[in-house]
């Protein structure tokens, strides 16, 4: 027993030493500008060996703490490096003239002021707000309608549920191209045959925008429907039976009893749609890529169907204006956090009432 412990201790100390030494060596190589090919592997190996040594360290008192650190470290490390640090850097870069690689000077809130002078950006903002409002209403009404249909007593309801849900499984890029095919071939052929109208709906900003809405509903309503179905099935059946005995019609039961009882589900779905519609990117990119000419604020714009997320992407990646793209992204974040705060307020209020 004693031998085992001291062997353990020696092992642990050796591992800790090797780990620290190889990590330090790797870092020294990094800082001296060495381009040795294995310095990255050395660093990783050093860290892993160090944690192995820490784990084997013979202590009863602190073992739980060591386990806690080892358990928390991997995910927390990834999270800090990929989310927290870039987030902080992003806030900082948005006030500079950053070009994606380096920055030379501060511009303060210059980027933020400039973006409001950019008609194209204001158009994207307006378009996104309209998109969000239209979809919050339509997706929820259609989703709820489908949910009511799918909870009715009918054969093959399971099949229809699955069928309505399927579009949600497919990524926005792929289904965006499928719908581009439909609009540019199937619909175009139909409009040409019937009205001799020979230009694609996607090439005009207004019909292109409607097309994005149509595809978005097609993709998202089935998902919202599933959440409403879950909500509707929690409405106790004795309440519904009681209302039927009192002579309520199906419509009355729905509006007077079911709808108030799934109020919290409606809140969840409304905000879910709001957030997802606001962040819409993939379908926008694959379907129209933001094209479509429009006259806005006395200017001729070529980004008639470009929504906010795509505008940020194009500003930074396509036009290579990283600092401006980052500033727009920060504004995007601010709007989303305001929405989230309102959401939390509303759901907390409801919980208090219940």
């Amino acid at each position: 027993m004693e031998d085992g412990r001291s062997a353990n201790k020696a092992m642990s100390q050796a591992l800790l030493l090797i780990g620290i030494l190889s990590t330090l060596t790797a870092l020294i190589l990094d800082f001296t500008g060495s381009r040795l090919f294995f310095r990255g592997e050395l660093l990783l190996a050093g860290i892993i060996v160090f944690f192995a040594g820490l784990y084997l360290f013979p202590t009863k008192k602190h073992h739980r703490t060591i386990v806690n650190i080892i358990f928390l470290f991997p995910l927390l490390f990834c999270f800090v490096v990929t989310v927290i640090i870039p987030f902080g850097l992003g806030l900082f870069y948005s006030t500079t003239d950053w070009n994606g690689i380096r920055m030379t000077e501060f511009v303060g809130i210059g980027n933020y002021l400039n973006m409001f002078n950019e008609a194209g950006f204001l158009w994207s903002l307006l378009l996104t707000v309209m998109f969000v409002i239209v979809n919050m209403v339509l997706v929820n009404v259609i989703g709820l309608g489908l949910a009511v249909l799918c909870t009715s007593k009918m054969k093959a309801v399971g099949f229809f549920r699955a069928a309505f849900f399927i579009p949600n499984l497919i990524g926005g890029i792929v289904l965006g191209y499928i719908w581009q095919f439909i609009f540019n071939n199937v619909v175009l052929k139909w409009t040409f045959d019937t009205f001799e109208y020979n230009s694609s709906l996607l090439s005009k900003y207004n019909t292109g925008f409607l097309a994005i809405i149509l595809v978005y509903i097609w993709q998202y309503a089935g998902y919202i429907m599933m959440i409403y179905i879950t909500g509707l099935t929690t409405v106790p059946s004795d309440v519904i039976e009681a209302s039927a005995i009192d002579g309520a019609t199906a419509v009355q039961t729905f509006f007077r009893i079911k709808l108030p009882m799934i109020a919290s589900t409606i809140t969840v779905c409304t905000f879910l749609t709001l957030q997802s519609a606001f962040k819409q990117f993939d379908v926008n990119m694959a379907l129209t890529n933001g094209t479509g000419s429009v006259n806005f604020m006395g200017q001729y714009l070529s980004n008639g169907t470009q929504m906010l997320a795509l505008n940020i992407y194009n500003t930074a990646i396509t036009k290579n204006n990283y600092a401006m793209g980052q500033a727009k992204a920060v504004l995007f974040f601010i709007i989303l956090s305001i929405v989230s705060v309102i959401q939390v307020r509303i759901s907390n209020k409801r919980e208090v009432e219940m």
């Binding site: 999270f79 990929t82 699955a162 399927i166 497919i170 940020i312």
Partner: protein, 288 residues
């Protein structure tokens, strides 16, 4: 006794039928048109004329062997990234959630709050600094973070971490602490307690987070397109479809075949795990 159909019933049935038609029509179009040639498709996209298996094999071989699309490589990349990411998210996420849940210290509360609030952060606000950080840090430390499997899996662990921890923490709270006390009295180490007692109980929420993460990572376009690039050797399926469409404008026979190949894996998975997928997505939405 045969129940009579009321007009309302008939109306509902017709509504069902029409909606299902609208929802499934795009898939139907894809399926019929992969059997046809480009000229036939342009002449009439909604038709079955000229459908044949030779055209399907011709379309399939030209898409699968195309150097911009290279289906098997993209499929393998997507599968590898998705499977490894969801595995490590479940493993590390469970471990982190357990530590956060079973320690009522200031630190664990703080870490939990940071995880939860970070869920508001949209990808757009971190994507640009993320790429530059990964590029610079990778160069400095000599670990390739961009255009590499470990790099993108690392990023997915970071982005999926908050939601995973959130859902798993919610579940661990409901697991009675007495179980762990009993194990500890019997001489079980803390790590043993977690892996032998708590982790096996986490199956339902782990299924939920795995489905949520899996669907998101498999279909994600922006992160892989930024981290792996369009011209690099490593491409996921959505990025490959995008690159393919960009280089074959209007060749709808090939584009639709590529789209079908990208859809099929998800549909097959859905057929086998329909209940879990639908339930998992709904659970995730309600909890967050």
């Amino acid at each position: 006794m045969v129940k009579k159909l009321t007009p309302a019933d008939i109306l509902i049935r017709m509504a069902f039928f029409l909606i299902a038609l609208y929802v499934l029509f795009p898939f139907f179009l894809v399926v019929i048109n992969v059997f046809r040639s480009a000229n036939d498709i342009v002449a009439n996209p909604v038709s079955t004329t000229g459908m044949s298996f030779t055209k399907l094999t011709k379309n399939l071989t030209s898409v699968v062997n195309n150097s911009n699309f290279s289906f098997w490589s993209a499929f393998g990349t997507s599968a590898l990234i998705t499977v490894l990411s969801i595995f490590f998210l479940a493993l590390f996420g469970g471990m982190a959630a357990w530590v956060i849940c079973r320690n009522k210290t200031k630190w664990s509360m703080f870490i939990y709050m940071v995880f939860i609030t970070s869920m508001i952060i949209p990808f757009q606000v971190v994507m640009l600094p993320l790429i530059s950080t990964f590029r610079d840090v990778g160069k400095f430390l000599g670990i390739q973070m961009l255009q590499s499997f470990p790099g993108i899996i690392f990023a997915y662990l970071g982005f999926g971490g908050a939601m995973t921890v959130f859902i798993l923490t919610g579940f661990i709270k409901t697991v009675p602490y007495e179980l762990e006390e009993a194990a500890s009295i019997d001489g079980c180490s803390p790590e043993g307690t977690y892996f032998r007692i708590i982790f096996p109980l986490l199956k339902p929420p782990v299924v939920t987070v795995t489905i949520l993460n899996g669907m998101w990572i498999w279909n994600d376009y922006l992160l892989p397109s930024l981290m792996l690039g369009h011209n690099g050797k490593v491409k996921t399926l959505p990025v490959a479809v995008q690159a393919f469409v960009g280089s074959y404008v209007k060749q709808w026979d090939l584009i639709l075949t590529a789209a079908l190949l990208a859809i099929i894996p998800m549909i097959i998975l859905f057929i086998f795990a329909q209940k879990q997928i639908m339930g998992g997505l709904v659970d995730g939405a309600i909890k967050s």
